[in-house]
Symmetry: C2
Subunit: 339 residues, 2 copies
Amino acid sequence: MTNKKLGGQTAALSAPVYFTAWANVAGKKEGEGPLASSFDYIDRDDTFGEATWEKSESAMQKQALALALDKCGLTASGLDWIFAGDLLNQCIGSSYAARGQQVPFFGLYGACSTMGEGLILASMALDGGFGARAAVVVSSHFCTAERQYRTPLEYGGQRTPTAQWTVTASGAAVLSREGGGPQVTHVTAGKIVDKGITDTNNMGAAMAPAACDTIAAHLRDTGRAPDFYDLIVTGDLGDLGSQLLLELLEREGFFLNNHADCGKLIFDAKKQDVHCGGSGCGCCASVLTGYLLGGLKTGRWHNILFCPTGALHSPTSSFQGESVPGICHAVAISARGAM
Amino acid sequence: MTNKKLGGQTAALSAPVYFTAWANVAGKKEGEGPLASSFDYIDRDDTFGEATWEKSESAMQKQALALALDKCGLTASGLDWIFAGDLLNQCIGSSYAARGQQVPFFGLYGACSTMGEGLILASMALDGGFGARAAVVVSSHFCTAERQYRTPLEYGGQRTPTAQWTVTASGAAVLSREGGGPQVTHVTAGKIVDKGITDTNNMGAAMAPAACDTIAAHLRDTGRAPDFYDLIVTGDLGDLGSQLLLELLEREGFFLNNHADCGKLIFDAKKQDVHCGGSGCGCCASVLTGYLLGGLKTGRWHNILFCPTGALHSPTSSFQGESVPGICHAVAISARGAM
């Protein structure tokens, strides 16, 4: 069998892997933002009917997957694999959500890059002949993330100007080897990049170098110019991280006039008081499974490079003085099947 | 392309994926146990030269991978992908270890089943034509796990009779599409199984039903009888979990006389006061990358079914009254390439 790797970090699928269906659920604040109309369900109080925030997060993943399956007339038994992840310690958001499904399960930890990691692994499995259908499900919840990473909500800590707001949302995608619609054509898996940022309230700066590394690798590996894509959309760099990314890419010789960032898209930063923008695995996952795939379906865009970014630290590593390693995975999605 | 899935949860690779090299490092207590001679490096004080236990765990992964690469004359640049995981919050053992490597990275969370999850995903990627070589690296450390999951070491908490001892070890395997030696032939990905066990000091009982589910699925999917394998070896069920597994499998009509458990193999439970045996991702990872692959290489065994088990809970989920979901992934490894 020929090697599908183009060299570097990128592989070209031998046949398209289709987004058969997608769905998302979001919290109240997200439902008051600019992308409200792209969410399938908006919860009134972010509990999703559960008694603890962690159980709420699991409920979100369950609901997002159920909605996606429903849209394509499948049940979970029609899936060969579930790839899932979240930000919680031991990824309990995902495993408790998938507990009720009778589907082989792969738990992932890629921080806020997890949607990209899941899409890459699911695409490689399906394109490699392993199964016909896979789901990728990812979530984050403001209230689970705050108390785990920062301080209890009741503490009411001040936020720095570079801080971002963890998005309460979950996105689910069902991928298939057959069908039609938006499709994955190339995948670029990220290396870990750490430029020594130690401010955990400045995730955009910590992740921008990784985003630059992966986007530059993708463009070099594929020989594509940035404007091949209608949109090169990062995960959750926010305002500051996005500025840094464009500067870093210019140094590499790439000038982007088609960059967008899910963390900037999902909130109206000023009106909604989220400082540098949204963050969390659920941020880019919910933007992909609504606004972005919706836009590919309706012909607004033809080619998108979806580039979720993640910060691979923990409170413990930060307390021990470590810097914040970043990662970014890129997935080329085409509306028309341009391989 | 034909579907490589045999139905159910199992896929047959179209060509063998070879274990090109493997290596492990272990702590002092592990180095005093029955498998001491199968470890490549035994640390004198479990610090691995670092100032914090978390940094020690990263150092272990780095060293295990470096040793494995060294054995096959490669550097990290010869790898297409690294798949890695550990038990720590946000998997920092793995991401800080891989930070220095210029290799595309997939972070996994499968609790103590992570070595199995990594071998499955790496095998599917390589067999699917995605790259020529991948590494799978997994670790656990007694001191990081105790303070994260249970109590600070200084607290000196009593251990219950069903408790297991988290192994301080890391195992690394380099997989290749070409070459020779022990090889992966089939993979069976596990579903999440939860029978309502809430005692977090009885992981064996929580994980045994998942092990039963996956082993039975593998045997049904492949049509193989248990005695096709010289050894069906679970990850870290320990004494009690192993007994439960055999009873559960009998109810499914499978009678095993070739079962072994890495958690029982790695320690002399009575002499070393580890109660029900060893546990942790590093347990089965280090037993595989020493004792088991070594035995396949020298002809002691011809076919092994390697079945790491994991408990997908967290301290938070347990404090909230949740039961412990289990998972088990199975990997069929052959010395001769019997497909």
